[in-house]
Each structure stands twice: as structure tokens, then as C-alpha cells.
């Protein structure tokens, strides 16, 4: 009895520091001001539990980071945890047995009931097992407006996209840029998707993106979309910045009227100490269709052949979904929590709008990441990059888009 107690104590002494001093390397591409503030919340929470967070930030967005992440996973020397957009990106890695099964954590913490909308957990689930921890909900369909800019131009802050387009000449006359747009395909694709939902409506969007319906993609609803994008292109003609946050900065400083960008732009406004509703406004779904997609970030945990690391990985997965972390992280990042049972009264106007849409259960769309493969998305992004910065006509762009959707998977 005595001996076994001693043994137990000894084992505990040996085991305890090992478990508590878990060092996990975490890769991500969150390097803008708001993003870095948010990720430090995760690191703080992790280190508060006595662990060590080795930050593997890789700047240059997913395009630079993803090859590094995937090479390292395939090369058999992976990081302990990594950000990846959830959706179809990780399917093949799961099939190859390279990602840790988190099902026990999900069951122990009752993710199935807590995670809202449930589609987020579905995106992490492969053949009935859970492989990722959803961290936040990001929606792309927002129009951000600078109150300063519209005041300078002497017009009211628009309430929807149509008013925005109508107010554009006044902005131009005042020497301001109507629409700020970063010259990168993914940003231009976000603008395209958002204008689609605003102009063509949810049903048409789903028909093309989810069901790959060629007739709709060729039809008049999408023709109207491409014409609207062509018009928006003229409004953004003088926007020569590259990065999305530099475009957001044009809105923050009142040099541009508005920007179509995801809710992560919120973090930049926050860092610049702007107040929603006073200095800037936000219109989900361009103010035309108050819908949001529910993409977002998730963490995956590559398989590492070490029992202690695995335990630490499970611990981190549970931590990411815990209520405290959900609140702290999402307030800093401007994204929405993945669970409905947390108190976000501290959130500002814009986040409240998003929360309301989420709580209503209507107008929730699956994100593009879940519908289209990375390959198809890249092709659409290339097309949009070309469309936004050349004189490609709306009709030609639509024809090329139809071709891409026809071969989509």
C-alpha cells in the first residue's frame, strides 16, 4: 500500500511536469495587427495552463504558408497544430492518416450540441470522426463604409449597395476613391461572391456553387452579376494597393468610401480605435440580402508519434473551443464564436449584426471552401484577378466562368 502510494507519487512527479510543460509548435498566417492581437489571446490561454506556445507565424497569407504546412506534414516532421481553412482542404490528409482524430475531445466536450451552426462541425468531420477544432466563423459578405468619406463628399452614408453605387460620383468629385480593392485574386473573388449574393440572391448562388448548375451560371441572373462587377471595377479603378488591410486602411482614413471584405476587416478598425456606427458602418450581404456564409478558421493537429504530444494536442483542441477562449479570441479578431452559449455583449454593432443573423438561423450559407475545391477556387480567383484589372468584358468573363463551373468538382 505504502509502496504503491510512493510509486504513484513518484510517477505523478515524473509525469506531471511532462504533461504541463507541453511545448506545441503552432503554425498560422495571422500577421496583421488585429490578427496578431487575436492569436496572442490563444497563446496566453495556452501558456496560462503551464504550457509553451511556439509561434510559427508565416507571413504572406495562405499562399505562402500552405505549401510549407503541407510539405512538413507530408515530410513526416509536422508542427503540432496548424491553422487551415476548414472545408475540403484537408480531406486527403485525413485519408492518408496524417491528422489526429479528435473525436474523443469532441464527445467529451459535447461539441455536437454546442457548435453552431452545425455545418462547422460537419466540415471537420470525415466518415464520422472529427479531425479539426473549429475556432471561429468568418463571413465574407460585408461592405465596410467610411463615414468620413461620405461626409467629405456631402452625401448620406448608404444603406445598401445600390445607394453606394449611386453615391460614387459624389465621392469621385470630392477626389476620393469610391471602392477600395486590394489587387489580389482572392479579394476580388470575395467581392464577386458578395455581389453575387446581393444581386442574384441566395438560391442562384447555391445553385451554382453547391449544385454546379450550368444553366443558372449562364442565365440572366448571373449576367446581371457580371455587369454589376464590371461597374464596381470602374469604381475601384484607382485602387492600386495590394494587401487587404492596406485597402481597409484607405477606408479607415477616409480616403476611400468603402470596401467589400470579410468580417476580419473589423479587427483593423478596432486596432485603429474606430467605433462602429460612428466612424464606420458595415452592411452584411451588401445590405441587400442579409446573409452570411459560415467559413472560418479551424485548427488541425498532425499525427505525431508521441503519446504526450498527442495528449497536449487534445488539450489544445479542447481549449480552442472553450467559452473563455472563444470570447477573447473572437472579440480581438472580429469574428464570430463557434458556439451560441457564450456572452458576447461586449461585441460592437457590426458583430452584433452578425450574431443576430447567426442566432436567427436564417441566411446562413456554407462557405465557398466547403463547396468548391481549392483547384476550382484558384481558377475563379485567377479569372477575377484578370477581370478586375483588365478590360475583359462582362460577357466574356461570364463565358469563362461557366467553363470553370462546368469542369468544377
Amino acid at each position: 500500500m505504502k509502496l504503491s502510494t510512493k510509486l504513484l507519487a513518484a510517477t505523478a512527479m515524473v509525469a506531471a511536469p511532462a504533461v504541463h510543460a507541453a511545448e506545441l509548435e503552432v503554425t498560422h498566417w495571422w500577421t496583421s495587427g488585429g490578427e496578431a492581437a487575436a492569436v496572442s489571446k490563444l497563446a496566453e490561454a495556452w501558456e496560462a495552463a503551464g504550457n509553451t506556445w511556439i509561434d510559427g507565424a508565416i507571413a504572406g497569407s495562405g499562399g505562402t504558408a500552405r505549401p510549407i504546412i503541407i510539405s512538413r506534414i507530408i515530410g513526416g516532421d509536422p508542427m503540432a497544430a496548424t491553422q487551415l481553412n476548414h472545408g475540403r482542404q484537408a480531406e486527403e490528409l485525413i485519408e492518408a492518416g496524417l491528422l489526429t482524430d479528435l473525436t474523443e475531445v469532441a464527445e467529451a466536450n459535447n461539441w455536437a450540441d454546442l457548435i453552431n451552426p452545425p455545418s462547422l462541425l460537419d466540415a471537420c468531420t470525415f466518415e464520422g470522426r472529427v479531425y479539426c477544432a473549429p475556432l471561429n466563423i468568418h463571413s465574407a459578405q460585408w461592405l465596410w463604409l467610411s463615414h468620413d468619406a461620405f461626409e467629405t463628399a456631402g452625401v448620406d452614408v448608404p444603406a445598401d449597395w445600390n445607394e453606394f453605387v449611386a453615391a460614387a460620383p459624389a465621392l469621385e468629385e470630392a477626389g476620393l476613391l469610391p471602392l477600395a480593392m486590394g489587387q489580389q485574386g482572392w479579394q476580388q473573388n470575395i467581392a464577386f461572391g458578395t455581389i453575387t449574393i446581393g444581386i442574384a440572391g441566395v438560391d442562384n448562388w447555391l445553385a451554382v456553387n453547391r449544385d454546379k448548375n450550368i444553366e443558372v451560371a449562364e442565365g440572366p441572373a448571373y449576367t446581371a452579376v457580371f455587369e454589376a462587377v464590371e461597374a464596381a471595377r470602374a469604381l475601384a479603378a484607382d485602387s492600386s494597393v495590394q494587401d487587404w488591410n492596406l485597402a481597409t486602411n484607405l477606408v479607415i482614413t477616409g480616403q476611400a468610401g468603402g470596401q467589400i471584405m470579410g468580417d476580419w476587416a473589423q479587427g483593423e478598425f478596432q486596432v485603429a480605435e474606430q467605433v462602429a456606427g460612428e466612424d464606420y458602418s458595415c452592411l452584411p450581404g451588401l445590405g441587400l440580402n442579409a446573409v452570411l456564409d459560415t467559413g472560418g478558421d479551424a485548427f488541425y493537429f498532425p499525427v505525431i508519434d508521441d503519446e504526450e504530444t498527442r495528449a497536449a494536442q487534445l488539450e489544445m483542441a479542447a481549449m480552442l473551443v472553450s467559452p473563455e477562449v472563444q470570447v477573447d479570441f473572437n472579440l480581438a479578431k472580429g469574428s464570430l464564436p463557434v458556439r451560441g452559449d457564450v456572452d458576447l455583449s461586449a461585441a460592437n454593432d457590426c458583430m452584433q449584426k452578425g450574431l443576430a443573423i447567426l442566432a436567427s438561423g436564417e441566411g446562413i450559407l456554407p462557405s465557398g471552401d466547403m463547396n468548391l475545391s481549392a483547384d476550382t477556387q484558384t481558377q475563379v480567383e485567377d479569372l477575377m484577378a484578370e477581370f478586375w484589372s483588365s478590360d475583359l468584358s462582362a460577357a466574356d468573363a461570364q463565358a469563362r466562368y461557366v467553363d470553370i463551373i462546368r469542369s468544377a468538382d
Binding site: 495587427g33 511556439i54 513526416g76
Partner: protein, 298 residues
């Protein structure tokens, strides 16, 4: 061949100091020098300005108020993610990657060049041709096979793996240089040594190495610059703790927090380029001599 470079210019002799010819000659050279110096000047000037001054002025105007704040920030304060220690932590990592990679790649390539010039065997020219074609393959397309290769030999994520990759990709051009150089060493010298009973390694260490100093300098300069400037291999085959300086540079330049801080970017850029730049400025003359000895014999 070796001493040719040291024998000075061979063109016609110059005439008076201020002839039309001289004015044209120096005028052209100075004009061209402006084009070459412009970026360096702009980088230095920008790095010494504060952000407000950058926004007001143009890139060429000298700083009104010189500040080294950007340099300090780039070296020790700039943030990536949650790490705010600038480039400093990449510097030693780069040194640790650099030294073994340079030594190993030059050692292997010099032996290759030696074997290819004086100890040809059936097929040696074929392997050499493959190497030269290999010099044209974009590294990126080899990324996947190399990941698999390193995984199979268990060196993925290890410093040794990175050193190996640098050795492999430095091999084509270096082998070409050494082969050309050793070919130009008189055959008689080599034969005399063989008659004296010296073998492969004996001749290499006692005759070839001492004569090959200029080409070793060239190889060293090329490798130091190439490996120091490498981003792709450094980011894929290392981990955050051991990221080289170029990876930190990319992180600093691409992590835009608020507005783009051009002065910090330029200071970071200069700091990263400092090591190869110093080597070039210090050993430019040796480099030209070595090039003359190695590259010219096509």
C-alpha cells in the same frame, strides 16, 4: 590561364586626361553607375527617414532628420504573429545553416570537378551533362520529390537535411567552375605527379588544392550569397526556432500592421543583405580573378 587576369587591361593606351574620348568614357560609366547605385541609395535614405517624412517627400530626397529608429525596430522589435524580436533571432540561425552548407557543397563540388577533369571514367561526362541540365530546373518543381527523399532518409526538418539540399542544388554550377579550372591546370604537372607514385587523393590534396585558391574564393562567394539569400529551402526544411534571416525578412515585410512601414522594410532588407554585400565589397577583386580563371574556359 590563371595569371592572365592579373596582367591588367589590354586595351589601347589612353591619351590626354580631358580628351573627348575620356569625357564620353567616364560620362557613360558614371551615368551607368547611377542606375546601379540608385536602389542602394534609395534603400539607405528611406531606412533613415521617419514615416511622416516618407509620406510627404519622394524616395530620392535625403532625410531631413536622420533617425535610426527603423533600424532598431527591424533588428529587434518588428513583429510577426506574436513574436516581436525582429530579425535578430534569424541571424545566428543563418550563420549556423551557412557554414556547414558552404563547406560541404564546396568540398563535394571540388572533388567532382577534379574527377571530371583528370580522372574521367566511362559515363562521367553523362553525369556532368545531367547536372548541368539540372541547373535549369526551377527548384520549386523539385520540392515534392525532395520532401519524399528527405523523409525516406530521415533528415526532414533536420539541419542536416537542409545542408544536403544546399549541397545538391549548389553542385551543378560549382562543379562546372571547378571542372573548368582543373582542366586548365597543365596535364604535365598531373602526369609528373603520377610518375612519382601519387594517387587520386594525393594529387588532389598536394597539387590541386594549393593551386585552386582563386576558384575556391569564387565558389565561396557564390555559395555564401546563394545560401544566405535562400528563402524557399530555409522555410520548408526548418522550423520556427531555426528559421533563417530571409524568412524573418519575408515575415517582417509581409506582416503589415496598420500601414506599410517602408523605412522598417528597407532597414530589414539592408540588414539581411549586409553579409553578402560586405563579402562582395571586400573581395570583389579576388572574385574577378577567380571568375577569369574558372568561367572563361567554356
Amino acid at each position: 590561364m590563371v595569371d592572365v587576369a592579373m596582367s591588367g587591361p589590354r586595351g589601347p593606351k589612353p591619351k590626354k586626361a580631358f580628351s573627348t574620348r575620356n569625357i564620353m568614357l567616364y560620362g557613360t560609366l558614371i551615368l551607368v553607375s547611377v542606375y546601379y547605385l540608385l536602389p542602394l541609395y534609395v534603400m539607405i535614405v528611406t531606412s533613415l527617414k521617419g514615416m511622416p517624412e516618407i509620406r510627404l517627400g519622394n524616395v530620392f530626397s535625403p532625410p531631413l532628420e536622420i533617425t535610426t529608429a527603423a533600424w532598431t525596430k527591424a533588428w529587434s522589435e518588428a513583429c510577426t504573429g506574436i513574436n516581436c524580436d525582429g530579425l535578430s533571432r534569424g541571424f545566428w540561425n543563418s550563420v549556423q545553416i551557412l557554414i556547414p552548407s558552404v563547406v560541404l557543397s564546396i568540398a563535394v563540388a571540388s572533388v567532382n570537378g577534379y574527377a571530371l577533369s583528370h580522372w574521367k571514367f566511362k559515363g562521367s561526362e553523362l553525369f556532368f551533362t545531367i547536372l548541368i541540365i539540372g541547373a535549369f530546373i526551377p527548384y520549386q518543381t523539385m520540392l515534392y520529390p525532395i520532401v519524399i527523399l528527405l523523409r525516406e532518409i530521415g533528415l526532414m526538418g533536420d539541419l542536416g537535411g537542409l545542408v544536403l539540399v544546399h549541397t545538391v542544388f549548389g553542385m551543378p554550377i560549382l562543379t562546372l567552375l571547378f571542372r573548368n579550372y582543373f582542366t586548365s591546370i597543365p596535364e604535365e604537372l598531373f602526369k609528373a605527379a603520377r610518375v612519382d607514385g601519387a594517387r587520386f587523393w594525393g594529387i588532389y590534396f598536394r597539387i590541386m588544392l594549393p593551386m585552386a585558391l582563386p576558384i575556391f574564393v569564387v565558389a565561396m562567394i557564390l555559395q555564401v550569397t546563394g545560401i544566405w539569400n535562400d528563402f524557399l529551402f530555409g522555410v520548408i526544411y526548418t522550423k520556427p526556432d531555426t528559421y533563417p534571416m530571409t524568412v524573418q525578412l519575408n515575415n517582417i515585410v509581409n506582416s503589415v500592421q496598420g500601414v506599410k512601414e517602408y523605412n522598417v522594410n528597407m532597414a530589414a532588407t539592408l540588414l539581411t543583405g549586409l553579409v553578402p554585400l560586405v563579402i562582395y565589397f571586400a573581395s570583389g577583386k579576388l572574385f574577378v580573378r577567380g571568375i577569369a580563371a574558372g568561367a572563361v574556359k567554356g
